[in-house]
Amino acid sequence: MDWFPLYNSLRIAGISTVIIFFLGIFSAYYIARAPRLVKGILDVVLTMPLVLPPTVVGYLLLRVLGPKRVIGAWVLETFGVRLTMTWWSAIFATSVVIFPLMYRTARGAFEAFDETLAYAGQTLGLSNAYIFWRIRMPYCRQGILAGTVLAFARALGEYGATSMIAGYTPGRTATISTTVYQLWRTNDDALAFKWVMINMAISAVVLLSVNMLEKKQRTGRRAA
């Protein structure tokens, strides 16, 4: 059995989760402080991919990154690199789709943060970076962790936009989800079933680890 789709899915999901982890957290942090109007507009724009059909996201991405479109053409001309139909093209698709998950959960977590802790840190002379990483993030870790894991799981399952921007090339751009579709289409039911089981196993492990982390945290808090 060719394990490439597993490896490819994991690296795409892993890389996009790392990118979106930081992007989502910083957007959440700064947008929470923005004036109300800006906040309202950005909120709609940034959450949009969550409710758009993946094919619409794929279409919009192709409109921007396609070799004959604005950015795609420019990158192709300047660096000689095509942004579509490579394995890492899928990272664009998964990143856009999982961003709202990370952004939303991080914002929810930040909104629950007791701001006086940050003020206390400031009056004690702690730098804002220290307060962010050593006080705010630990305080919000539960929500942020949950958001990260959910984002990873969603990235792993991304199909629509990925298939449009990265296509399906066995051994090059194939992911688990595109492979399952391809195998089912070609009537290779046995192999399709194997990949389905693998996918379900990974999802189960991910969700189980979320639950365990949450439980650990809760018992830690309850001691109060």
């Binding site: 006086t116 802790l117 003020y119 206390a120 400031q122 004690l124």
Partner: protein
Amino acid sequence: MALYADIEKRLGAFHLKVRLEAEDHVLALLGASGSGKSMTLKCIAGIETPDRGRIVLDGVTLFDSERRINLAPQKRRVGYLFQQYALFPNMTVAQNIACGVRGGGKKDARVREMLAAMRLDDAANKKPYQLSGGQQQRVALARILVNEPDVMLLDEPFSALDSHLRFQLEGEVRSAIRRFGKTVLLVSHNRDEVYRLSDRIAIMRAGRIETVGEKAAVFADPKTRSGAILTGCKNVARLEKRGERLAYVPDWGMTLHTGADIGEAASIGIRMHDIHPAREGRNVQRCAVVEVIENPFSLTVMLRPIDAPQAVPIGWEVEKGAWTGADEVSVCLPPENILLLRE
């Protein structure tokens, strides 16, 4: 260590306009909730930014709207004790205190020293949620003291506590103030607390300081109606001027001589314990006893003049042993104890 602040800030309908000065003593801001006490502290600490004004601490300008100076809270050397203490929940007691140590070097030694001084050695490795309220407050104070600020701001330090614990922790705060030895600003709405902890008192109402002075002077002459109420005067009513030192009080149905010129005063007040029984003399009133309310260690006798059955009763505080029970009584409201109050 002198602190000077002259600030103005608008927040919706609320308008804060405060000028205060303090040097090496405890200045209390006494006011009802929403009078702008905490906002004043937050502006001094740099957590909130005033619209206009100037804040100078020990010769260093922290804020000056005209010169566009606005130091970050980190650079202000202002210690702030928050209502709920704001201990970092993910850190141990020792780590919390270590956060307060400025500069590198002998950090551990400083923390150990402070743990010992605040009797927190046994709690050093505990997390804040494992501590009692008293210990939490000691950690918060230790974290500020180790930070060596130039001024300490105490924001309703006992508001979250029941009365017994309150009294105990007040002692802790008093000794922390003594250890600190520099300017302290205390915010509270509790007059007893304020009287015991501070040297000077500023009475705040609706974003302004109405009265400021030595604490005994402010209690003796609170000058304003809200000042009288905040310092615990229960009998307050409007007056109608009948002479330079003669006032009619319609609510009470009494005409009273005052110890000082009425001037612009619009209200009158008398503390419950300043009233005493008397047969004759100035301001002696023959009163009916409307009600006797029993307090733990005293009685509050509610009185209404015999000839004014519609009047609002005034309270008179009597020691339990001194009250024998009566339907009528003659009391004196001594002119020198009458408070003349502006709006």
